[in-house]
Symmetry: C2
């Protein structure tokens, strides 16, 4: 039962209704959005064209009524396929006035002199020139923080959203099952990375926005480096961590495999990682906090690893929302999708990291990625 | 003679020296940067981890002395491989203080009470929470516009940068040469897109941040849509436009092919596109303005197309810098890499777009993408 692309209009209307109820509570007259996931959340506007920084895109969600898109004319045809009917365009990029007048007018019309909320807290970015935001404020629009309203809405996924994340996880799972096809002793890591991305595409990923990894007999020094010419070697533990996308939703998990043989310390570390993941899975239910879940895992793997967290939210972005870290007191709720990502130091400066994706239901967690079990897999390179 | 990965330290030092000379002229005490290409420009810090919005990354380039990186500890190991020696880290994400204190202190130290420049004009984004920027300003750091300083530096590419873009173009060229392998009448467009991305990887792309396209007997209604289930049909003109990356540098060009046969109107439109591209190529030399180059093409293809421009700068981003548009008076200089991207309306609402990449030398333009010649290619699906 593969999910369909897109969402029915009712889903978008429900999102808007939830946003509007929260706006009333927060005393906001409108929500002003500039980033890809935020605009897409309410409109379904899905394009890789955000890769180009040349044009800003704006969406206004008023406290009552339908959203208004203020966008470059190059996006008119695609936005017109969405449920949004009020689409205002300009011929961007325009060095003299890149949508600022059009946007100011729309914001003044929607806000009626009241405060306009904008995501400006944790994880937020401003995807428009700061100078243009200042111009809009100077034109009499009061821009205030949305107080985490937008992040709060996005944190709870609908069944349809969860199905898309599950599909991305399934696709990556099939690619990981074929890992042996691209792993070869002596192959430069960049070749392994390329080959694995091609597998993800062959298995149905729309695109592969993220792939990181590492390899070494005792693990890897960091988990964010791109691949270079260094060759994969007998005895390495190879880790590949992917964020593959299907219909705009991410998976984010990794797999570790030992090449040929494995050192006992790496094997033991792996066992602890699985133990921590299982413990967190058992503990992950509504009402539990992010830091409590961190505690469960840190109690098993130790708290010395450098990533600063042992998991995070996931959805329209590779990472989003809460962090499984000692400082994050966010409370788990049904509908959240998170990663469980314990890391462990094997020898000073080297780590193994394991990651799975789960969804939180009223009754507890459910695996979205194909749960790893057993000892550290060994494959011939 | 394939280029090497990375750049020698002297290249980074030369970039810093140019930035510092410009800062003196602009009366800035430091440059404050938050985005991927800007941080990478001075440090070489290359990672796909920017895909995760959870952590901000900061770089300060003082008016004298070496840059200072203020980054999450997860990036310590990778940044330590760069030429940057002053690396200050915190355990991000930290909901209480996500690097703000550390950054404020560093900025106050570098700025010595003077103005700190930040890109805040065209194409810029603020990749940190706006709230945190306001905190830094409240802590006594004066943030002003860099007046386009950063964009100006990045617009002129070094020989080493040009070689990387040329390599990305060559890789995409080999993938386009194999297009027949993934084109099949009746294939859903999403399958064609996946197959072509896999070809790009097989031919050596590190990753494929951008692929757009369209298909129809008279062209396509827009050039930014993702692929869906609609099948490729006999008589369609298929366009694929890719931004593939090698070592952090993009190509950005497309190819059009007719499937089986082609309507005379599409064939004629194609001839005009090539004519416009050739004319722009001949005209593209130092001293010519972006709008003059637009004029050359618009005179041949008409000025009615919806993209708002007929080409743009290219480099560390899919699009960057000048626009070949009626409003952009930027002057071409040697070392600029640009796309020539004429579009033409075939029937109302449908377009063909052709794109090539060129570098500007003192003596004129040089093709970086494998120049298209002859009639619209026809392949059997």
């Amino acid at each position: 039962m593969s999910p369909k692309r897109g969402f029915p209009e009712e889903e978008y209307r429900a999102r808007v209704a939830r946003a509007q109820a929260a706006m009333v509570k927060a005393g906001l007259t409108a929500l002003f959005l500039t980033t890809e996931p935020e605009v897409r959340y309410f409109t379904g506007f899905l394009t890789r064209f955000w890769e180009s920084p040349s044009r800003p895109w704006f969406l206004i969600v008023p406290v009552s009524g339908d959203p208004v898109a203020v966008i470059p004319s190059i996006g008119q045809a695609l936005m017109a396929q969405s449920w949004i009917s009020d689409i205002r365009t300009w011929a961007a990029p325009d060095p003299g006035d890149d949508g600022v007048s059009l946007l100011s007018e729309a914001l003044r019309e929607m806000a009626q002199g009241g405060p306009v909320g904008m995501p400006m807290g944790a994880e937020s970015t401003l995807r428009m020139p700061l100078q243009d935001l200042r111009r809009i404020e100077a034109a009499g629009v009061e821009i205030v923080t949305d107080g985490g309203l937008m992040a709060g809405l996005r944190a709870i996924k609908s069944e349809e959203e969860i199905a898309k994340i599950a599909k991305a996880c399934t696709i990556a799972g099939r690619a990981f099952d074929r890992l042996e096809e691209v792993v070869r002793v002596g192959a430069p890591m960049e070749e392994v990375f390329r080959g694995f991305q091609a597998l993800l595409l062959q298995e149905g990923a729309d695109w592969v926005p993220y792939l990181a990894g590492g390899a070494g007999p005792m693990g890897y020094a960091d988990v964010i480096s791109p691949a270079g010419a260094q060759p994969l070697q007998e005895g390495d533990v190879l880790m590949l961590d992917t964020g593959a996308v299907w219909d705009g939703y991410f998976c984010d998990y990794d797999r570790n495999v030992a090449i040929g043989h494995v050192d006992a310390r790496a094997r033991d570390a792996w066992d602890r990682l699985l133990e921590a993941t299982e413990a967190a899975f058992e503990a992950a239910k509504p009402g539990v906090t992010a830091c409590e879940l961190w505690q469960v895992m840190a109690g098993i793997v130790g708290s010395g690893e450098t990533a600063g967290r042992l998991g995070h939210g996931l959805g329209m972005q590779l990472t989003e929302g809460l962090s499984l870290s000692p400082h994050d007191h966010s409370v788990l709720e049904a509908g959240m999708v998170i990663t469980l990502e314990p890391g462990i130091e094997t020898v000073p400066g080297l780590f193994l990291v394991h990651e799975e994706n789960v969804v939180i239901h009223e009754t507890g967690a459910e695996w979205l990625s194909p749960r790893s079990t057993g000892g550290l897999p060994v494959i011939e390179g």
